[in-house]
Amino acid sequence: MSHGTSPLEQFLIRRIFELHIGGLDISFTNSSLFMIIAVVGITAFLNLSMRKSALVPGRWQSMAELSYEFIANVVRENAGSEGMVYFPFVFTLFMFILFCNLLGLIPFSFTVTSHIAVTFALAAIVFLGVTAIGFAKHGLKFLQLFVPSGVPIALLPLIVLIELISYLTRPISLSVRLFANMMAGHTMLKVFAGFVVALGIWLGWAPLAFIVALTALELGIAILQAYVFAILSCIYLHDAMHPHH
């Protein structure tokens, strides 16, 4: 890139408060700040909306109840009614990713989920937790997951290897999907913003209109990616609880 800022500069992590404890750099960064803003936002949204608890909900209460019911249906449909124990976990996951994605759309803010460290931590927790549940519930019979029924014996080693590899790539695909969507979306926004400045006032209207459309698309993608993360977590949970095909 020539002079000026590059479109990747928005992903830089900047320390706000330096804090080193026991050899570990746990400074308060802009990433931590936006995670705290997301959590406070979620808590405020849910608590303040449900304050009235009217039987006929007003607008805010309706939104809070809608988000609850939406994820409750997703969990119940994909993980069964015995998977409803994990509903707080999936709901927290969904709301956190949703708010972090949406906060990133505000100009001059920071997208928490555009770092592979954050998304991989979330995906690793889901994957390892689900695998642990599978082994706890079924013992070694959990490995039936890798042996689909009705496979001829000759092909069995190959099929098991393929199934095992595709199972082990689940956390990677889960994390990279969210990370790449967020990073690519925001990078494109900055690139087109650069075009607006470069084309000046006569031709700069075209990239600007495209940025407006792109922001609408990014809004949809923010919500969609949170939903996809949640529903895939429920599907992996269902696989762990019922490993026989």
């Binding site: 050899g23 570990l24 994990y86 707080p88 976990f89 690793a124 927790i125 390892l128 642990a132 549940i133």
Partner: protein, 101 residues
Amino acid sequence: MSEGEPPTRLNDLDARLRRLRERTSEGDATPAGREPQSSSAAGFALRIGIELLAALMVGGGIGWLLDRWFGTMPLFLIVFFLLGACAGMLNVFRAGREINR
């Protein structure tokens, strides 16, 4: 069939039912052995959330302490954080099993 039999059998059944009801209503203050009714469902959900959070914090804490003693990079912190996540999900699983029993 004589006329006096059904009424006495019915009265006897009635008395037995009443006694059984009194017995179960006294022993009804059982804790989480029963399904969560509306008042303790929130308590159950809070317990799940705290199980997850506590396991993560304990795992992270143990990993951090090990890192301090062995001077390694955040290796133990990450490993034990993920182990804490596994343990937290296992606790949620066990809590769910005991509720549904």
